[in-house]
Amino acid sequence: MALPAPRKKLSTPESVYLVEVIKGMFLTMSHVIKNILDQDRFRTIEYPDMRKPMAARYRGAHRLTTRPDGKVKCVACMCCPTICPAKCITIIAGEAADDPAEKFPIEFDIDMLRCIFCGFCVEACPKDAIRMDTKIYEINAYTRQDMVHNKSYMINLMDGLKPEAEDVYRAHPEQAPAGYTFDEKPVA
């Protein structure tokens, strides 16, 4: 049974409609003036032409990193599907005949409809093979099937895009988190 939410008793100036309206107008006007005086910190952005810079730790769509020879770093150790609380990672492992890594993922799917963006998969990975540093938050598709990101999609996700954090880290390596390794694949 839904309980009625307790209502705050209004004070006399509050119960007079006009006072509150004028207070609200003052707030709005103060923002207008602030925006005009300090245009760098404009509070309204014109999405999608403008985008907010995301924090370095923002967890966006997953990507799979690659080794210098272009092969995927993932060795299908199954740590990420094991830790994943949403059970949305499906990996089929195979033997890489000519590779000292021996094991690789034949298929690597993440069902983005089920993912809760907790980032555990990134934490669990012993190979730094999966990252969520893409800052991509527009994850959408017309069918459910297309919401399952597969291996090649996640490898090529950053083509033509720069991971913002990496940009900063390249310019200021001292700001990179301890042990951060750059993806050797040249970023466009």
Partner: protein, 527 residues
């Protein structure tokens, strides 16, 4: 008996019991690599060090080479013991590649487990690790990674003491000690899979299971291998209805810790192409119920004198019992047979270790029930009766291949498309042993249980259920839908099974009562 003290627990064990086993009985796990209950003592890993008191004061000794004697007291929890365990771990891991992400052993690796329990040190390694040969193909079923080896010599002793083939050898000295084989040598025996099981680390891994599934996903169900009459105890490892491997399960009376590769790989047939998925009548797929109705009609048409039934040496006791009861209640006077032999009709080779030449899991069980009934014919009786039979109802066995003679129209209850199934007029699929509960009797007359690990494929159901449904169509159901009731009913009726209970069969099975000395005349011919 000897009274020994492990930490603060005092227990009584037989004289000479290995102290690792004694400690296990006292609930104390002593970590170990080289000790194996069914191999000789090597004492080279030093992981099992425990403290004993001697006239010289407390000393560290290896528990695996210590035998229980009266008054022996060991401690596994002193600071010295814990320090030694940590140091041994550090020593063993000095040159270890830490391949865990790609190593199939991970999840059931003694190095991982003991590091978490007893290691937990920070690496002090300065020199590069000694590299060794990785990914060597040394047999049909085994991949060797020499870098991961901890030189416990279990595999060497297995080759020397169990199979007698002695292929694997530890070579060189110091930290260059490497497990390997002589050039040109290759594992060729039927017991290779056991090497991967006894290797406490990921040096020897099973090629068939390689990269298939992480072991921590797998659920285990205690069961019995149905590849031959030995009935090795196994764990069925499965996930979400799919079986990925069989592992031997320790039973000192039957298979110790081993099983043969033929049996180990027989899991592949569970979802194999030879499984029967659908019921069919005269080649047309129908619902199992329709097929059962059609069988009942044809049995009535053939009449008691014209229909024969064959108990299965591959069927569970419960299924054979169900068929026996069903026939005696509904078609009195119909003849029942047991046809021994191997499917396809070829004689098979056994060996002196485990594998039996009889490739049926339940020949002893079919024989027992035949004797109990006292009026069951053998293959010669069936050959003689063939001209009079208008219908033959077969449980699981490839009677056509075993007899090598043309059969009357056949009704086949079974899991696999053998020659008889292919020739049969009516086929009803039954469940594979890992898909049902039931019991088999091995060649030592040991009654052992199989347990349902996965759901039956397609339209199949356990044979005792299928036979029960047929009984219901014919008038009297034998009441064998519930497996425990079927077994307990059988155990009450069959003399040598008296006292056995389905729930009481336990993990290691129970022996039948010995055969009565005065054999019933005529019973010989029936087996």
């Amino acid at each position: 008996m000897a009274k020994v003290k492990i930490n603060d627990t005092e227990i009584e064990v037989p004289n000479g019991t290995n102290m690792i086993e004694a400690a296990k009985l006292a609930g104390e796990e002593i970590p170990h690599y080289c000790y194996h209950p069914h191999l000789s003592i090597a004492g080279n890993c030093r992981m099992c060090l425990v403290e004993t008191t001697t006239p010289r004061g407390p000393v560290l000794e290896i528990a695996c080479n210590m035998q229980a004697r009266d008054g022996l007291a060991i401690r596994t929890d002193t600071a010295q013991v814990l320090h030694m365990r940590k140091s041994v771990m550090e020593f063993l891991l000095v040159n270890h590649p830490l391949d865990c992400p790609i190593c199939d052993q991970s999840g059931e690796c003694r190095l991982q487990d003991y590091y978490m329990e007893h290691g937990q040190y920070d690496s002090r390694g300065l020199d590069p690790k000694v590299g060794k040969n990785k990914r060597q193909d040394i047999g049909d079923l085994i991949v060797l990674d020499a870098e991961r080896c901890v030189q416990c010599s279990r595999c060497e002793r297995f080759g020397d003491e169990v199979t007698g083939t002695g292929e694997l050898r530890l070579m060189n000295r110091g930290d260059h000690t490497e497990i390997g084989m002589f050039p040109g040598d290759r594992l060729s025996h039927n017991y290779q899979g056991n090497l991967a099981d006894i290797c406490p680390v990921g040096a020897l891994t099973n090629k068939d299971f390689r990269f298939q599934r992480r072991v921590w996903y797998l659920k285990e169900t205690a069961s019995v291998c149905t590849g031959c009459a030995t009935g090795c105890n196994i764990q069925v490892c499965h996930q979400e209805g799919e079986v990925f491997r069989y592992l031997p399960r320790r039973n000192d009376q039957v298979n110790k810790s081993w099983m043969c590769d033929m049996g180990r790989l027989s899991y592949q047939e569970i979802a194999g192409l030879k499984r029967i998925l659908k019921a069919s009548v005269d080649g047309k797929a129908v619902e199992p119920d329709v097929a059962t109705g059609e069988i009942a009609t044809r049995i009535r048409a053939a009449g008691a004198a014209g229909v024969g039934f064959v108990l299965g040496t591959r069927a569970t006791n419960e299924a054979n019992w169900a068929l026996l009861q069903m026939v005696r209640a509904n078609v009195p006077g119909a003849r029942i047979f047991v046809v021994e032999g191997n499917d396809g009709g070829q004689a098979a080779q056994g060996d002196t270790l485990l594998l039996s030449g009889d490739r049926n899991p339940n020949t002893a069980g079919a024989r027992l029930l035949a004797r109990h009934d006292g009026n069951v014919g053998d293959r010669l009786a069936l050959l003689a009766a063939l001209p009079e039979l208008k219908l033959l109802v077969v449980l699981e066995d490839d009677v056509l291949g075993r007899l090598g003679a043309a059969l009357p129209p056949v009704v086949f209850f079974g899991a696999f498309k053998n020659a008889t199934a292919q020739a049969a007029a009516i086929v009803v699929p039954t469940a594979h042993p890992v898909e049902q509960d039931g019991s088999y009797i091995n060649r030592q007359d040991r009654v052992q249980r199989v347990r349902r690990a996965v759901n039956p494929v397609g339209e199949s159901a356990p044979a005792y259920v299928v036979v029960d449904r047929l009984g219901a169509r014919l008038g009297k159901a034998p009441g064998t839908q519930m497996v425990a009731a079927a077994f307990n009913g059988m155990a009450r009726a069959v003399e040598r099974m008296r006292g056995l209970e389905f729930k009481g069969l336990g993990a290691e099975g129970r022996l039948l009562a010995p055969e009565a000395v005065t054999a019933v005349p005529g019973a010989e011919a029936s087996t």
